[in-house]
């Protein structure tokens, strides 16, 4: 036998093959899935919408880099998660949001929604919602969609519903709502774009269909029950699904990995709970759109849902 040359072989634990999806790849795909809504938002709100998104993304990335510096560890901003957080946060803001609100909220999302828990994977909440909640409670005037957007002709159907009643909602045409002719979170209300992105993520298996279906089903059923009780007071189920950040929440926020359950039945229950809570908050709560709080609330229940699990292999 001929002598074997000394070689520098790679050694590593099995498996020696990988599915190819990385954190960066997943986050890149999520950003790609948000692109249609970004385009629609810019078309709808112009430079002001673009400005808010750019500010939030930049602030998120910068904040994470600074946090990593203070935490004395190698930064992971290249995994693109910070960009996803920043953009998701911007999607929930009104296009009129001042620059400092976008920056501070985005930074809070990263610091309180991610880094204090040790980084990606540690947080029990979907990070952008933390920033949103802090801003909503601290600067309600700037987060209030109606008050801040008086100078545009679009209307905020959910606030009209909340404040004046069903008869005063100016846009009820579902097609108009679907195309984003409404106020709300600047990206979240681009229903068509959000839906395209969400379906893309499901088809590419980056998210599971169970949670979005659960959210939408839960909302449809609850809203239909209210609507059946009194159609003059309670909006139809389809109206609810196509307004506010319901769709965006269902596909992009509720599916956040660490804060949502991983198994099928818990995922479905988690989705349903969000859907039901959104409608209940919209009907009884003080906030016109219940999506962010509903998701935050359901995240608290994730550990409970996760207790529903099959028997491990071979355990009797």
């Amino acid at each position: 036998m001929r002598p074997l040359q000394p070689l520098a072989l790679t050694v590593s634990a099995p498996p020696h093959r990988h599915c190819g999806v990385t954190v960066r790849g997943r986050m890149g795909n999520i950003l790609l899935a948000m692109a249609p809504a970004v385009v629609m938002a810019v078309a709808s709100f112009g430079v002001s919408g673009f400005r808010v998104m750019a500010m939030a993304v930049a602030a998120a990335i910068l904040t994470e880099a600074v946090c990593d510096k203070f935490m004395d560890r190698e930064t992971q901003i290249h995994d693109l998660h910070a960009a996803v957080v920043g953009l998701s946060f911007a999607f929930l803001l009104p296009a009129s949001a001042p620059w400092w609100l976008a920056a501070i909220g985005s930074a809070i999302s990263i610091v309180l929604g991610k880094m204090v828990f040790g980084g990606l994977g540690g947080s029990p909440f979907c990070a952008p919602l933390i920033g949103w909640a802090v801003c909503r409670l601290s600067w309600p005037l700037f987060m209030d969609l109606d008050a801040s957007m008086l100078n545009v002709e679009l209307t905020y159907p959910l606030a009209q519903l909340k404040n004046f009643g069903l008869g005063f909602v100016s846009v009820t045409d579902l097609g108009q709502l679907f195309m984003g002719r409404q106020l709300g979170g600047l990206g979240a209300v681009q229903i068509a774009g959000v839906l395209i992105g969400g379906l893309y993520l499901i088809l590419r298996k980056h998210i599971s269909w169970i949670i979005p279906v659960g959210v939408i089903a839960g909302a449809l059923i609850t809203a239909a029950l209210f609507n059946a009780a009194d159609p003059n007071v309670y909006a139809p189920a389809t109206f609810h699904v196509l307004t506010g950040s319901m769709m965006f929440g269902a596909f992009f926020l509720a599916t956040d990995g660490p804060s949502s359950p991983n198994r099928r039945i818990p995922m479905l229950l988690f989705g349903l709970l969000i859907g039901v809570m959104i409608i209940i908050i919209r009907v009884y709560g003080v906030y016109p759109d219940g999506t962010p709080f509903a998701i935050l609330l359901a995240s608290l229940f994730t550990p409970v849902f996760e207790r529903i699990r099959p028997k491990p292999f071979g355990v009797r």
């Binding site: 000394p6 520098a8 590593s12 099995p14 498996p15 020696h16 997943r26 540690g122």
Partner: protein, 367 residues
Amino acid sequence: MQNDTIHLDLAELTLEGRAALVSCGQDVKRGQRIAISSSPGLGDLHSPVAGKVEHVDPFRIRIKADGEGEVEPVELNSLKGEGLLAALRELGADLPMAPSLNTLIINGVDEEQGIGSRRKMLASHQPTLERGLSAVQAIYAPAQTVLAVLKDSEHSLAGTASVEIAAKYPSGLDPLVALAATGKEAPEDALVLGLETVFQAGRIMETGLPAMETVVTCGDSQFLVAVGTPAGAILAKSGQTPKDRDRIVLGGVMRGTAASSPRQGVSKKTSAVMLVKNPTPVALDAPCVGCGQCVQHCPARIDPSMITSYAEFGMYDKAEAAHIDSCFECGICGYYCIARRPMLQYIRLAKCELAKAKAQAGEEVAQ
């Protein structure tokens, strides 16, 4: 059958926890016992060549083939039951203890795609397999013997009922084969033996000499090789040349061991030698990002993300409470992990630490 064989100048035998019985510079005969097994289910180790021991360390023994002589064959035909088990284990068959057995399952399905060693044995070594089968039946005296074969394959073995296994990973792994054969998960009264073990038992019965051969797949062909044949030599035989930074994998790509050098020899259980080229990713020291992929794909229905995180931080008791024992090390969690965590390594580490702790506790109780 011998024309596939690879001439052996240098054999490197992996100890896998056995204790070496030889020292450097010692002359050994072909078939001489060079290491003794201390764990149940693992046979002793014998030199496949006559020659001089060149190197011994806690992991391997290297023997240069330049000697002569062979051990005397052992007479085995009069033995049965425990006596036969002890004799076969001493001659290198990896046979575990099993007190009362209802079903003996012979796993004739290759564990992973791209491996054809067991199929090759079924196709070309029927007499040896039959001899081995009657030996293991004489040891375990099972009520029934089942042969697991790949779905739609023609293979069978006299004296066994067949059960068909789908050609989809991980269906060919022992625990899932046991489930298919008995309808029960982790049945207590069944034992799964890999076909190569039956083959080796058959060789021992035929020759009276220790088990020193196995069938490995490399590329598209199967080779009958001596245990201890360097992986690099087998690759060369099949026309593959490893380059810098490649991986030589002993076994399948999902579960196999990466060889530390092309000289590392195949063991009795090595089913394949594979060359994995870049840019297959290497695992990273990364925290779990909570994507849930591993949980969704784990065939043992456990939560690999929690278990590996416990292992990462040394909380082995929690890993045990999370049913790490149900894991049958298929490697699927690591295949899907988007953070590229070394999942299987963490799991094996935790299992090993738990076993150690248990052994220690047992010793303390005994004192």
